[in-house]
């Protein structure tokens, strides 16, 4: 591990001067150590990736840069001046602009006003001149080679355009460093290209960019250096050219990822779910697929490829315009998700926080919510005995780690939360489970646990549709892989006969 790191240190002398150096930064919250003795250097005009798993300390480091948190130890050197900590105002004065994942835009205001909003705060007595504001905003956009309607309300723009607005706003604030938190998570291939182009322009203006991400394949193309964090410590800083994704995931997780492929599917040949010519205008078209009991069907594709929309249709929440769905050979019409649940379908949403679980409520209620009507006894009251029997059974079987089933589900770790989601659906005794990005926000160790559960369920005869944009996940966890692109299924693979690289190329063709 020291080799490339040393190379990186040597590399420093030849490159641009350091703009910001974080030296020996430590930070703890209560009893939890978020960062331990971390060094992090950003040079003027460089594109730097900050990589690490969830909870590795990335966001704490960013918040220290933004002046939101003060470090316990260490110093922050900006242009050679050392500080023990930054205030939010000092951070912005130094030219540090953070673009959070939620972008922090004002959806109710125009593009121009969003870009120039800082003026309202800084020059709070001068009357607002709408026309001048728009001219300024257009100036900023033209510096980045962007053209967006300045008068349009931001809430009506697609995500990719909003991201550009956020970058423009950072530029308008005289940024010298733009930090982007998970910028590519919701972008399509083209949009990512456009984003990277914009970052190139920033670079040409001498503005440094830091990408914070745990998925770096795209941004690696233009990155110069990569700093990897793990468990609050810096693993090292490496030239991007020395890092490929396997090496990166090894560095991020600390162990080699060597999952074997699934053995070929050898179960019941009669399909439980058949889909023919399923279409919904603007979302997906002519989708055919078949799943058998005990089979794990992987579907991969980028966000916006129609994969989630298709999943929602199978779950009865997004009625198709054309085509048919058959379960056990019988044609079904799923008008609501209640009908889908009754037909034996469960759906684990990719958005666990807002769609998967009711976070403030108890673990027990989150498990029984799908079967409430089956638990009633006298007078329509819920039978407490049957309820706790059910809850205890699934907490035990899925190894949900908690002191009490009546604690809010919010208090659990990501992996344990996902187990609760699975428990909710297993309580309905489903025949088909749709898992939409089931390991998003789940730590590596916990991922393995989720995969084991999925395997066990498949072995019990549940048909599983595994949707994911993490290529190695579908490759190693499925019996068969379908690729979705632009609303169509463009390819079908046997995992044994396709390499990760090939698969990746087909996805972003």
């Amino acid at each position: 591990m020291m080799g490339p790191s040393e190379a990186a240190e040597q590399d420093r002398s030849e490159a641009a001067p350091a703009f910001i150096e974080l030296l020996g930064i430590s930070k703890h919250f209560g009893g939890v150590r978020a960062l331990t003795n971390v060094d992090f250097t950003i040079r003027s005009g460089e594109v730097h990736c900050l990589a690490g798993e969830n909870g590795c300390g990335k966001s704490t480091l960013i918040k220290i840069l933004a002046g939101v948190h003060a470090p316990d130890n260490g110093q922050i050197v900006i242009d050679g001046h050392a500080h023990t900590h930054l205030s939010p105002a000092a951070s912005q004065r130094a030219g540090i602009q953070i673009i959070y994942q939620d972008l922090s835009l004002f959806p109710n205001l125009s593009v121009g006003e969003n870009i120039m909003f800082r003026h309202h705060v800084e020059k709070s007595v001068r009357p607002v001149n709408e026309r001048k504001m728009m001219i300024h905003a257009r100036d900023v956009m033209s510096r980045l080679g962007i053209e967006l309607p300045t008068a349009e309300t931001v809430g009506r723009l697609p995500i990719a355009d909003r991201q550009l607005v956020a970058i423009c706003r950072a530029l308008a604030a005289e940024a010298r460093l733009v930090v982007m938190d998970e910028p590519t998570a919701s972008l399509t291939h083209h949009e990512i290209d456009a984003l990277l182009e914009t970052v190139g322009v920033l670079k040409s203006h001498g503005i440094a960019t830091v990408f914070v991400s745990h998925k770096l394949e795209e941004v690696m193309r233009i990155a110069e250096r990569v700093t990897v964090l793990r468990d609050g410590q810096r693993v090292g800083t490496y030239p991007a050219s020395e890092i490929d994704r396997h090496r990166l995931s090894e560095l991020m997780t600390g162990h080699k990822y060597t999952a074997a492929l699934k053995p070929a599917f050898a179960g019941d040949a009669n399909p439980i779910l058949e889909v023919h010519g399923l279409s919904r205008r603007g979302q997906y078209e002519g989708v055919d697929l078949v799943v058998r009991p005990g089979e794990i069907l992987g579907i991969t594709g980028r966000l916006g490829s129609g994969r989630t929309e298709l999943a929602l249709t199978l779950f009865g929440m997004n009625p198709p315009d054309a085509g048919e769905i058959r379960i056990r050979g019988k044609r079904v019409r799923l008008r609501t998700n209640r009908e889908a649940v009754r037909a034996g379908i469960g759906y684990v949403s990719e958005d666990r926080l807002s769609l998967g679980l009711v976070m403030p409520q108890s673990i027990a209620d989150n498990i029984v919510v799908s079967v409430l009507n089956k638990l009633t006894g006298v007078l329509g009251l819920i039978d407490g005995g049957r309820r706790s029997e059910l809850v205890d059974r699934w907490i035990g079987e899925l190894h949900v780690r908690t002191k009490s089933a009546e604690r809010p589900v919010r208090e659990l770790s990501g992996g344990n939360q996902q187990r609760v989601v699975l428990a909710k659906w297993l309580a309905t005794a489903p025949a088909i489970l749709i898992l939409d990005s089931p390991t998003v926000g789940v730590d590596v160790g916990a991922k393995e646990g989720i995969y084991q559960i999925v395997d066990t369920l498949a072995a019990r005869g549940i048909a599983i549709i595994l949707i994911s944009d993490e290529v190695e996940e579908v490759l190693h966890q499925s019996h068969r892989i379908l690729v979705m692109l632009g609303g169509r299924i463009t390819a079908s693979f046997d995992p044994a006969k396709v390499s990760e690289k090939e698969l990746r190329e087909v996805i972003s063709a």
Binding site: Y347, L355, P360, D365, L381, I382
Partner: protein, 347 residues
């Protein structure tokens, strides 16, 4: 459910005040005890007497049943501003049926039939109002404040239009008994209230409907994704709320021996106060009837005590408003202490 009335600058998923769903009960119980001790000390002979208890028992049911009608929508993350107007219209409908069917010479069976007919019509009125409110909230996704603002105006408008602002009065003794009669020394209205409270408590805590309401109150979308028919649960919420208004209407018309479009309007915002003081999370998802019950007892003890001390009823209402602010304050201070003593607990 929309939780967009937040103007809390410290953006958090739930307000501080809601964080103590169980400690609320303890806090309220302590406040009730303190209030009782203070008033007992100030008016030694009179406060701790049967009269006081009886006065409280007669005054509580009206506000209590209406507060239950407010509580259920609050727990679903909504609000029902139309409870008072619904109760008034329902009372007017019942009063209309009674006064039209019963004459001084009517034989007993006519009176019984008229009462049954009146009850049925009053209930149907509430059912229709609740159903329409629920449908607009659930299926059109309109914010409950807006919908119930509309239904409140409309329902009151209908009541005013039908009566031209007059009062309808003169009911048979069986109805009046609900307002002023007692069974074994317990006021009939109190029995009605306790019955409603028990039913709502069981419903909220132990039925699929109640669990769904709480889950919807915290996150409607996630609840719908779990296969709950959230739209129909929401319709149910407003129907239940309206039906409680029907019971409140009975108690009100029995107590006043009359019905009008404009009774009890000052109670509207007080019911929200009582519910939130009782630990019902104004964002939805949490609350228990027992907390609401304690908060009603506290409010009544304060008002009866001040009454005995010879204070104006207006001062009592001012104290009620202040109680709310003080209760929030206590919760905030307590949270800060917990944060200081036990920092790891707080993120």
């Amino acid at each position: 459910m929309p939780s967009d009335l937040v103007s809390s600058p410290t953006v958090r998923s739930r307000p501080r005040f809601a964080a103590w769903s169980d400690p609320t009960v303890t806090l309220l119980a302590v406040l009730v005890v303190i209030a009782v001790i203070v008033f007992a000390a100030l008016t030694p002979a009179r406060f701790l007497s049967g009269d006081t208890v009886r006065a409280i028992a007669f005054q509580m049911p009206e506000l209590g049943i209406l507060s239950l009608a407010m509580m259920v929508p609050l727990m679903s993350g909504g609000l029902n501003l139309a409870i008072i107007s619904t109760a008034n219209l329902s009372a007017l409908v019942m009063a209309g049926v009674l006064t039209n069917l019963i004459h001084p010479t009517s034989p007993p069976w006519v009176i019984v039939a008229a009462i049954l007919a009146a009850l049925l019509c009053g209930m149907l009125t509430c059912l229709v109002i609740g159903f329409l409110t629920g449908v607009i909230v659930a299926f059109f996704g309109v914010h409950p404040i807006l919908v119930t603002l509309g239904t409140m105006t409309l329902v009151k408008g209908v009541a005013v239009l039908a009566t031209s602002g007059t009062v309808i009065g003169g009911f048979p003794p069986a109805i009046l008994f609900l307002g002023n009669g007692s069974v074994l020394g317990i006021p009939a209205s109190m029995i009605l209230f306790v019955l409603c409270a028990v039913v709502v408590a069981m419903m909220v805590a132990h039925t699929p409907f109640g669990v769904s309401v709480r889950l919807i109150g915290s996150n409607e979308k996630a609840t719908r994704y779990s296969g709950v028919a959230t739209e129909w649960v929401l319709v149910g919420v407003y129907v239940v709320s309206s039906l409680l208004c029907w019971v409140a209407a009975l108690v009100m018309m029995a107590r006043f021996n009359s019905a009008s479009a404009g009774y009890a309007e000052s109670y509207l915002l007080i019911t929200i106060l009582a519910a939130v003081l009782g630990g019902i999370d104004p964002f939805g998802g949490f609350g228990r009837v027992f907390g609401l019950f304690l908060s009603l007892v506290l409010l009544q003890v304060i008002s009866t005590g001040f009454n005995l001390l010879g204070f104006s009823p207006y001062l009592t209402a001012a104290i009620w408003g202040a109680t709310m602010i003080i209760a929030i304050l206590i919760a905030v201070v307590r949270d800060r202490w917990i944060a200081r003593i036990w920092p790891a607990k707080v993120k």
